[in-house]
Amino acid sequence: MSTQTPETETETETEPEAESGASAAPDHQQRRMDEKRARAEARDDAAAQAATEFEGETVELKVFRYDPEVEGKEEPRFDSFTVPFEKGMTVLDALIFARDEYDSSLTFRHSCRQAVCGSDAFFINGSQQLGCQTQMGDLEWPVRVEPLPHQDVVKDLVVEMDHFYDQMESVQPFFDPDELPDGELDEQRQSRENREHIKLSTRCIWCGACMSSCNIAAGDNQYLGPAAINKAYRFYMDEREGEQKRQERLEIIEQEHGVWRCQTQFSCTEVCPKDIPLTEHIQELKREAVKENLKFW
């Protein structure tokens, strides 16, 4: 149902205006006031009717609420919303419905609706998932939606992402080749195998689900975390990358709070909405680091 708000009982009739122009204004004014009143009444009833109003199946959505500024929301709590269920409905659709129909202060990040922007990773029924990629029909009801664990909550489902971004950016996530072909329109060559090798790692959408699921990241704030290590992997394994940057980056990830902290819990790999084999990548880098260091012995 995308982002469209479902029709409500306040749908206005659209009688076509015969004449247009200024003369229509008082008319409009009148109608506007009427509508306004009707709408206000309807809204008051809405909540009460909610449970009985919808025909067909409904599903209960329990959403974590918190706002440091608003009285009554300073204490974290769960709010319940009854949402009409349709086949194909995602958790994000349900949240949008709840927001547009019941409580416009319900706050969550979202944008693309197609699992590429990475803004709507939530803790849904106890695991980190993208709201837009999770079918309501596949979940146990009632559906419980919380902000990502182990991150500061800004408001409702919105968490502070700065720490995650810092970690992502600390592995020098950019390409830095030693030299570039200088002929006009000359590209660097990359074998298909090599592209294949890094392909999965380039899929990351910075949603932070992996980081939130990792117990080590929860305990050790300095731990780079699976996403950042995967980002490093993406460059480290790229055959086009320059030798010097490669070494520098390896030094970053093999710091005490780098790859060694990973205890192969696999939960990152399990929650990643882009199916990136994170644990495998981390392990590969550990072995690379050991190999590199053995060379100097």
């Binding site: 305990g219 710091q255 060694w260 590199e292 260091n293």
Partner: protein, 120 residues
């Protein structure tokens, strides 16, 4: 930003040692357990028996190595677990010292025991 991750030593060495000791321990620990619970039963152990076993140089050396690796593996494991919980600064320094001393003590005491049993 690399300086934020400065550390006192490369993680790869201890990480690798933890694995190598683990691989070694699999064999020795299994042998040790089997030896003292199934071949000789624990409830039958006596000083004389221990002494007999320990007097063999091979066994003695294996046991000392067992002790050293197990201590390293165990102590380093505990230290890792603490770092995973995010200890930093003073606490981390303290953990290093305490664990290091405990490990040393354990190895020294263990060797004394072994020496006694071997009759050195």
């Amino acid at each position: 930003m690399a300086e934020r991750y400065s550390s006192f030593r490369s993680g790869s060495t201890t990480w690798l040692l933890q694995r190598l000791t683990a691989a070694f321990l699999v064999v020795v620990l299994a042998f040790h357990f089997f030896n003292l619970h199934f071949v000789t039963h624990a409830y039958n152990i006596e000083f004389a028996g221990s002494q007999a076993r320990m007097s063999e140089v091979g066994y003695y050396l294996t046991m000392v190595l067992f002790l050293v690796t197990a201590t390293f593996h165990g102590v380093n494991g505990v230290y890792n677990a603490l770092v995973n919980q995010g200890i930093e600064g003073k606490a981390k320094r303290a953990a290093q010292i305490v664990l290091g001393l405990a490990g040393l003590l354990l190895v020294v005491q263990g060797i004394r025991v072994a020496n006694t049993l071997a009759g050195f």
